[in-house]
Amino acid sequence: MKKRFSLIAVVAVLIAATFIVGCNGGEETGGTLQFYANGEDFVRQGFVSKDGWSISFDHVYVVLDDVAAYQTDPPYDPHEGSDIEAEVMVGLEGLHTVDLAEGDEDALPIRLGDVQAGVGHYNAVSWKMAKAPAGPAEGYSLVIMGTATKDGESIDFTINVEDEYGYACGEYVGDERKGIVQDGATADVEMTFHFDHIFGDAGTPLDDSLNVGAVGFEPFSVIAQDGELNENMAGLQEKLSLEAYEALVTMLPTLGHVGEGHCHCE
């Protein structure tokens, strides 16, 4: 009798346990997280600098390394400037050189790659702009190639940046919310680059902090020769005015964003 009682009790507990586990909804397998880089319409369509130069871009090579996305709780705050602490992290392997000016005026942001990611909100992103060992940006982390025109004058320019930067950002700020991976679905995160921070934007009031801090293009036009400018940071330090060079050095770390959300840069 005791044996039968024990057997029945065990079966009953197993049935109850099955109900409880069954109500849990099963194991979450995750989805896909895509990484994008975006130079925005400023790069794809061109724009007018704060000092009236119409700028179009042929190529904007940015070299990205250690690209990663995180689930952070509490959410990472780039204003605090600390390291990102997360229990869940996914990342792209290798170094990626992308041309943010690739495609026509309506081109989509550049897709770097996909990773399998667990379910959740990837609300922090980090990456480095590192010097490329080879390729079109060899020796530089950023190469900006384009043409600037004003009052009939045209200057073909190439600005090579050999400095390296590390960006730590919170969640994407924009028209839609990004980075929410659901079971079996695809989500994306974006590294956004604001080149109006260097050249300024005629479409924004001149007393806006964006234009107050931006270099503009006039300082670059002054050091161009025969309608051409091709310099790296060392050359620009030598030829630009101290004020313009310091403004450039100050603005370069502010290029990296997540949509309209700011990042911490080291």
């Binding site: 029945i8 700020v173 902090s209 309209e260």
Partner: protein
Amino acid sequence: MHLRGIIVGNKQKFVIGLTLVIAILCFPAVVYAHGAFIEYTSSVEIEIVATYDTGEPMSDAQVVVYAPDDPANPWLTGVCDEEGRFTFTPDSSKTGTWDVQVRKSGHGDTAHIPVGDGGGTTGETGGYTVLQIVLMSVCVIWGFIGTALYFSRRKA
């Protein structure tokens, strides 16, 4: 006396009896015909003030509020006033982190605001305590055992 007799004389009867007793004790709210039931909610209003790095207010900036239980879809949208202020009252039943996104002219930021026991609160009389929930779970399992024993006895 009767209880003692069951314990000594017949274990199966004790099992069934105990099951009934525990079941009755576990569900008083269902049994009482004139029990009172009051729901209450105390809400907390949240005010944000959005400014640029310079301290200038983000007047007329777009605001999107996301609730903790649905981070993908806006719970509320609105616009800051001239001083960059925006006020809303979160649904206090949705505890967790409320995200408030503010954008204007290419600038934006997200505030993460915890709403929980220290902020808005919800509650109701007649709710089950942890002890009651555990006891009810035991009752359900014990009910399986008692039922199984009852039918096994009839076959014997």
